[in-house]
Subunit: 352 residues, 2 copies
Amino acid sequence: MVNEISLEELQLAARNHGMPLEALRFDLTPIGLHYLLTHYDIPVVDPSSFRLEVDGAVAPTLSFTIDELRERPARDVVATMECAGNGRVHVEPHVVSQPWLLEAVGTARWRGASLAGLLEEAAVGEDAVEVLFTGLDRGIEGEEEQPYARSLPLAEALRADVLLAYEVNGVPLPPQHGFPLRLLVPGWYGMTSVKWLSRITVLTSQFDGYQQRHSYRLRQDESEAGEPVSRIQPRALMAPPGIPEFLTRARTVEAGAVELEGRAWSGEAEVAGVEVSVDGGETWAEAELESDRLGRWAWRRWTFVWDAQPGEHELCCRARDGGGGTQPLDPPWNVGGYMNNAVQRVPVTVTE
Amino acid sequence: MVNEISLEELQLAARNHGMPLEALRFDLTPIGLHYLLTHYDIPVVDPSSFRLEVDGAVAPTLSFTIDELRERPARDVVATMECAGNGRVHVEPHVVSQPWLLEAVGTARWRGASLAGLLEEAAVGEDAVEVLFTGLDRGIEGEEEQPYARSLPLAEALRADVLLAYEVNGVPLPPQHGFPLRLLVPGWYGMTSVKWLSRITVLTSQFDGYQQRHSYRLRQDESEAGEPVSRIQPRALMAPPGIPEFLTRARTVEAGAVELEGRAWSGEAEVAGVEVSVDGGETWAEAELESDRLGRWAWRRWTFVWDAQPGEHELCCRARDGGGGTQPLDPPWNVGGYMNNAVQRVPVTVTE
């Protein structure tokens, strides 16, 4: 892991905030603690003049106000969202971009209209292959001026849980989460869930805009086309036990029975189990995994009672999912520093 | 300014988030965009068992539930809050702590009960000199285990606008802003407004706890006692115009008339004026300053129309207040890197 980061990376870290890991104790992440990654600037949108346009390979083209979208049947989905770059700082050699440690995650209850229902109404053409989502946020990346735009394969766009979301945790979307409208694609990394969504375009060929062609691809070097990043890989995180030192965040715990707790999730398949190691990954034991009471797309709580003995310890946790997905002990590498789901390590000092 | 920061500083930057400066466009900072500095961990508090205890040099001691505090006369105050460490990264030589650039600010409408009213009921003793506020957050700092605790001189504690706040922007405090109760001291840097407030103790001598004796003091070297940090110094900030490049945040603006906008505030005295420079601080011109329609303790909006010519420019802004307070061109230095209100500098490329 790199020892220092640049001021440019700090500028990004100051804007794009993570979820302090003690917030793993909440079922739903309070607004303001959910992770946030904004490629460009947060736009100020006037909801009275806002329209969602639907065009491309559809007949007819459609246009909706927010009130019209709110009048459609509403659906609630609790989803754990994670940035594809979560864990990037732990990747070697160092990748320069938003310098996430492990906090780029959050879980919220999103409410919105069904995208599939709207696409049905738009009578998508037989030759359609993808659906493109364009936001109102605009900037420069890879020397190209662009609105933030990402596409989804048609079959993914038609999943019942994909929402045109206008509420989060019971309130209208705050500006930073895409007011007045965003896409919500449960199980996929966050770059897919386009914020400030203003246009849906049905495409008859694959979108090759910057965020699809260059960003969010798994490549070993810049010349490769690589595979696109899509579903969230399995991960377990723990709320660091005990109390922190302000500057170093070093943890101190009193000796005795300590209930460790955390959450685990996977966008690939249901979480099948969580293991904990109290010796830096040498030996592992099964944690108690709670039911999926928040639904398929939300994290699941886990607990583990640790008999903490005085001294220095390194706590770890790892999830596995029903599709055979696991977490590596060491960070994988790719050009963008994506999908690093290596196990969390929490050094702890236990006092008498 | 330092070129790199350490991973320990990054850990703090990932937790303690700033307000992206485009959010200067909002009168009230939406929850989730307001700056946040948490010394230790955000505690999870059960409101049903929560009590505010009032003790020390009072007769009788008092204890309140949140519902009892809500039944007292409510008062609303719109306050701009800023971290005393805002601007720390710009200070030379480098000070290692939470590495704020310029984003450690936010403005909110706080609602709560009057502290003065409560102290009146507690019949503060004649020999009282200070009031101590203790939070539920606990950690280690300067090798001392401590709850976060800060005091105020009695006269400041008795100001009418000092609140025991239980709501922000119309909703109950979210966990990260001190749920269920916090102190709110308008005009003072944020360290004063103790979150997760659980105890008020009237003191007959000065509090000498860590956060009062060691932190938040203006000292040229560690051996000095130094003066305590108190009121917010004047500052103007602008929302960076145009569009950003993702990684560098470099701004690009189209040539022509560009309305610059921002906010200005001071805890010392009312803002008297804002000036803008479009040539890196060589020459200055007066900006248009809006009224104090949000009240004395809130920032004031300002605008300035800039005739942007193609090329490279550095935009600056600075506020002055009615007490003679101004902003320096270069950062002042002290051991903690506090109260750096040097003028903001925004490099901009103007295209044809």
